[in-house]
């Protein structure tokens, strides 16, 4: 019998190739006869594009062709679409200015592609690109999120640079509750703009085969099928059945590789036009300029309470920066992934949120690890903390008092979601214990004795993951369904090939999904191979984001595996000469009840493919099953993060002395992988809270365009993490899983800022809380 592997920290199957240098990322692929592409990009944030003179560049060595935005327009390529229609409160549709594959008449952010140079080598393409001369007539740029609505209009169709004005919740009831409340806490905040910076820069190779007229696009994508759908149905590059997208090993995504960008689209178009394979690999500077950025909100919030500190109402007004164009999912991020999460873990009866989303002359902003939910959590967990300070109560106790209780589930929030299950207090208690909250006063006294400041901060977060019930997503404006596909192919020898529409770019699906399927069949994890990332191999799927892969993709595989077992029972019934109802399947064996007769999983697989003795009249041969799983609800991972810091008041340098994360992710297949996801998420949360900030100057030039200027978390910036789990099993998917990929980035930032402000004794320090800001706050506090 093979050991059950669910819940075990099985070492990752994918690692051997990565640790030996045998990974195969897009940049590692070279095709025979390939050419290289380099993009000419706008140096201006906002300018009219005049003549593009390519004559000099065209005569340079190795140049094959130069294609411009004007040719894109002449070829009538569609624009890059945004997949989520948001309606404003007046019922009007969001404004969606054309997002051209390359700019033809006007550029709207620094780094926007204007032309593509194709040459025999990368160096030749890059050299020639410097000789493409573009006439620009500079226009005033709109950069600031807060001031965007009063700036000059970037698009005639979007007056006040406003994309939409959205609302959710009951305005009148919320206003009334705030009006009559005993206490109202007010908070204005900026959620800092971030640059995702997956370590592998985006890359693509477009390879048009003149013989078959098939276009193969290798690209760094989290969702190759979605990319194919967009490139075919919307941009109309090629018919869907003639476009194959392969996303091989991908070096991290964090959201930034969900989207369909100009570069791979231009490459695909150019490859068809020129009949050659073209490769492009972004230089890091291009990633900074032209990958979709994250966050960038400005908000005002009010939390109303009664005398006892019971939450009565929350009112929020947010301005969200979309950048210059609506990226693939951009419009959904500050609305359905943000406003709906403002209830947090609490029974706040009235919530009303307004979101104005605005265009600026900056790179497009879209989902970045957490996407909307970190912004919601930061707002809620900061204002709750401020309320506790104002009321003079322990922040843990104010949270506890207002938490939704286990008996309240399913719990309908005032902002559209129905939480299925959770036990928030259990996570809170466990985190308080692991963080030794009770011993904090002593540690603080010790720090003070050494001339240091010490603070502690909590955050009790919730997120909605497992995107998403298709009908609900559709009703909310999504352009696609959000189910997932899975196929379980049992091979004649009994080994199994699993195909999934999700994509692994660090998450370890090749191991987790193998554990899931191996356990169901009672076979070894080594006998299961997980295949993903190739539209030529697996069924249509929606990809990996929103912590959806296990809860939705894993559920599809679970259903498909059940179908395999069902068919196996029928085959076994025939071979064992019994009734199907009397066949049990357990530990890899089909047993006839009340007998000692059985068949192994492998024997049944063999019989299915060599059907000599087989119920061929009733049953098709073969043993491969598919499932398309559409979730009935979101999943709701939740937990408590606690951060403790010590600050040197002379320098403002803040050390995280302990970071505790206690999370409820439902059923866990591989604890090692899950903890790794928490570590990585928290690291990005610490990055947002203390280090990272995308800065544009007033003219829209990116000031943080390299790893020298944009502060990435490095090994010596971060602490070790203390990670704990609690479990309430998701009620509505067959795996019981809720998703774990984003929690770290969602839960951690407010815990950190709560800790730092607690240490310094000030109301607020904006993110990132750099040593300089902390030092200034300390000086002001002392003055």
């Amino acid at each position: 019998m093979v050991e059950q592997s669910i819940g075990k920290s099985v070492l990752r199957k994918e690692d051997l190739r990565f640790i030996t240098g045998n990974g195969r990322y897009t940049g590692d692929i070279d095709l025979r006869g390939q050419t290289h592409g380099y993009f000419v990009r706008s140096p201006y944030a906002h300018a009219v594009v005049g003549e593009v003179d390519t004559s000099e560049a065209r005569s340079m060595p190795g140049v094959v062709a130069i294609l411009t935005g004007k040719q894109v327009a002449e070829d009538e390529l569609g624009g890059l679409p945004c997949g989520w229609m948001i309606h404003s409160k007046d019922g009007s549709e969001m404004k969606q200015p054309l997002h051209p594959v390359m700019a033809a008449t006007k550029v709207n952010y620094v780094g926007e592609p204007v032309a593509l140079v194709v040459a025999d080598s990368f160096d030749e393409a890059k050299n020639a690109a410097e000789h493409v001369s573009v006439d620009y007539e500079e226009l005033p740029a709109v950069v600031s999120t807060a001031a965007a609505q009063s700036g000059p209009d970037i698009y005639a169709e979007a007056p006040g640079n406003t994309c939409y004005q959205w609302e959710l919740g009951e305005k009148a009831a919320t206003d009334a509750a705030i009006e009559g409340a005993a206490h109202v806490t007010r908070y204005s905040l900026t959620n800092n703009r971030l640059i995702p910076n997956a370590l592998e820069p985006r890359a693509a190779i477009a390879d048009f085969n003149r013989g078959t007229e098939e276009l193969t696009l290798y690209t760094t994508s989290q969702n190759p099928h979605l990319a194919r759908l967009i490139l075919t149905a919307f941009v109309q590059i090629a018919p869907e059945h003639k476009l194959r997208i392969i996303a091989p090993d991908v070096g991290g995504g964090f959201g930034s590789k969900i989207f369909v960008y100009s570069e791979e689209t231009a490459l695909a178009w150019a490859s068809m036009k020129l009949g050659v394979a073209i490769k492009w690999t972004a230089e890091r500077s291009e990633s900074f300029l032209a990958d979709a950025h994250g966050r960038d909100h400005v908000s005002d919030a009010e939390l109303a309470m009664d005398e006892e500190g019971n939450f009565l109402a929350l009112r929020v007004k947010t301005t969200a920066n979309m950048g210059a164009y609506l990226s693939t999912f951009a419009s959904a991020v500050p609305t359905y992934l943000y406003g709906t999460l403002l209830a947090g873990q609490y029974k706040t009866p009235n919530i009303y949120v307004e979101v104005d989303s605005v265009f600026t002359n900056t790179a497009p902003v879209d989902a970045y690890r957490g996407a909307g939910r970190p912004e919601a959590t930061f707002l809620v967990e900061r204002i709750v903390d401020l309320a506790a300070k104002e009321l003079g109560v322990d922040p843990a106790e104010l949270r506890r008092k207002n938490m939704i209780q286990p008996a309240d589930f399913p719990y309908q929030t005032p902002v559209a979601l129905e939480y299925d299950i959770g036990d928030y207090e259990v996570s809170l208690n466990k985190a308080l214990e692991m963080a030794d909250y009770a011993g904090f006063a002593n540690r603080k006294a010790d720090s003070e004795a050494n001339g240091k400041l010490r603070g502690i901060g909590l955050s009790c977060y919730i997120e909605a993951c497992g995107l998403a019930p298709s009908a609900l997503a559709g009703a909310l404006g999504a352009g696609v369904g959000l189910w997932e596909s899975g196929e379980v192919r049992v091979n004649p020898t009994g080994s199994v090939t699993v195909l999934t529409g999700t994509h692994s770019h660090g998450q370890g699906h090749e191991t987790t999904f193998a554990q899931l399927v191996a356990s169901r069949f009672g076979i070894s994890v080594d006998d299961v191979e997980v295949v993903h990332g190739d539209t030529g191999k697996m069924d249509f799927g929606l990809g990996t984001y929103g912590s959806r892969s296990l809860s939705v993709g894993g559920s599809a595989l679970s259903v498909a595996a059940d179908k395999v077992v069902e068919k196996g029972r029928k085959i076994a019934a025939h071979l064992l000469e019994g009734d199907v109802d009397n066949i049990d399947f357990e530990d890899g064996e089909f047993r006839l009840k009340e007998s000692n007769r059985s068949k192994t999983f492998q024997e049944i697989a063999f019989a299915a493919y060599v059907p000599h003795d087989y119920p061929i009249e009733e049953l098709e041969p073969g043993l491969a099953e598919k499932a398309f799983y559409d979730p009935v609800n979101f999943t709701y991972p939740a937990g408590t993060h606690i951060c403790e810091v010590e600050i040197d008041p002379e320098t403002g340098v803040t050390e995280i002395t302990k970071f505790t994360a206690v999370d409820d992710f439902g059923t866990i297949i591989n604890p090692m992988i899950v903890e790794g996801q928490v570590h990585g998420g928290v690291a990005q949360g610490i990055g947002q809270a203390m280090l990272e900030q995308c800065v544009y100057d007033e003219s829209g030039q990116l000031q943080t365009g390299s790893f020298m200027d944009y502060c990435m978390p490095r090994a010596d910036d971060l602490p070790n993490f203390t990670v704990g789990m609690t479990t309430t099993v998701c009620t509505h998917n067959p795996v019981g899983a809720k998703g774990c990929g984003e929690a770290g980035a969602i839960g951690s930032p407010p815990a950190i800022i709560n800790a730092i402000t607690d240490a310094v004794g000030v109301r607020d320090i904006s993110m990132p809380a750099t040593p300089e800001k902390v030092w200034r706050a300390i000086q002001e506090q002392r003055a």
């Binding site: 640790i19 990974g23 940049g27 370590l199 010596d716």
Partner: protein
């Protein structure tokens, strides 16, 4: 202008002509097709391209091939293979010190050099020693554990 360079890569002698501005990483990736060494930036800041040059970790994106005349270069492919893993490779796997794997070859090469170089290995030394290698995925926690564990094995 083209130059001729002779060097030893992963125990094999290599002699080739290349443009004078060819970097070591280009030589490794494009000419020798050893794609385990990665490029993550254009400012010598990320460490994804780290290899050993005469036994010391260097960022191969900042070294010209021309500077490597007569040198011994070891890349991740030369450190150990599936059947014969280096203790550092093994420890990264055992401690889950990698997720997407993109930083991993450079991180492992830096870590091996760190253990060779530093008389005593502890969390602080590892964190400071790997400061030049960015990992966006792991939060470094398990990388630190991996290096601690490999250091023990390497010293036995």
């Amino acid at each position: 202008m083209s130059i001729s360079v002779q060097l030893n890569v992963n125990g094999k002698s290599v002699k080739l002509d290349c443009p004078a501005n060819t970097t070591l990483v280009d030589l490794i990736r494009e000419r020798l097709e050893l794609t385990g060494t990665h490029v993550g930036c254009d400012t010598s800041q990320c460490g994804a391209c780290t290899v050993h040059l005469n036994g010391r970790a260097v960022k191969s994106c900042t070294i010209l091939a021309a500077q490597c005349e007569g040198a011994e270069v070891t890349t991740i492919e030369g450190l150990g293979d599936t059947d014969n893993l280096h203790p550092m490779q093994e420890a990264f796997r055992e401690c889950h010190g990698l997720q997407c794997g993109f930083c991993t070859p450079g991180m492992i090469m830096s870590a091996v050099d760190l253990v060779h170089r530093e008389p005593s290995i502890n969390e602080r030394v590892i964190r400071e020693g790997l400061e030049g290698n960015i990992c966006r995925c792991t939060g470094y926690h398990n990388i630190v554990l991996a290096v601690e564990s490999a250091a023990k094995k390497m010293r036995n």
